[in-house]
Point group: C2
């Protein structure tokens, strides 16, 4: 199992734009084979920080995800509203 | 539901020390009332970065956690082996 944390810092006054795109991205991605979980969270102390916490069966499923049309299109749209998007990939220990 | 991401940067040559303490912290914490999930992950690109991904029923459960003897004792022990431990608190959007 592979866990991914993608922490998105949204530009001022563009939160609703980003949320709309994320809603679409989540709705499409959860249908993908190998996607165990794909959820969007908001930092309590900073509402302009949205974080995707994802769970994939394996690296192949994650790599397939990054080649899907919806991922490519929507991530490009998101980049208009995001200052930064560091993506960290984990394996579970216990 | 409250989600917490605690990203721990471990000092060089102290990974096994930290892992031992985290194993104990996880084992005790999952028994707590209101603890939905409490799992430890390791960054694939940097094994010295351990990240706790936690899920709590509500803020009260999380606050009770930080007052438990095992949390107080073990977090203090961990501080010997950790360079930094930023804790981020989230709510789920969708």
């Amino acid at each position: 199992m592979i866990k991914v944390i993608a922490r998105s810092v949204i530009k001022e006054n563009h939160l609703s734009d980003a949320l709309e795109i994320y809603r679409h991205l989540v709705a499409e991605t959860v249908k993908e084979t190998g996607c165990i979980a794909y959820e969007l969270f908001q930092e309590l102390n900073n509402p302009n920080i949205l974080t995707l916490i994802e769970e994939w069966e394996d690296m192949e499923a994650l790599q397939r995800h990054t080649q899907t049309p919806h991922f490519i299109t929507l991530v490009e749209q998101l980049s208009l509203f995001e200052k930064e998007l560091p993506v960290l990939i984990y394996k579970k220990l216990f």
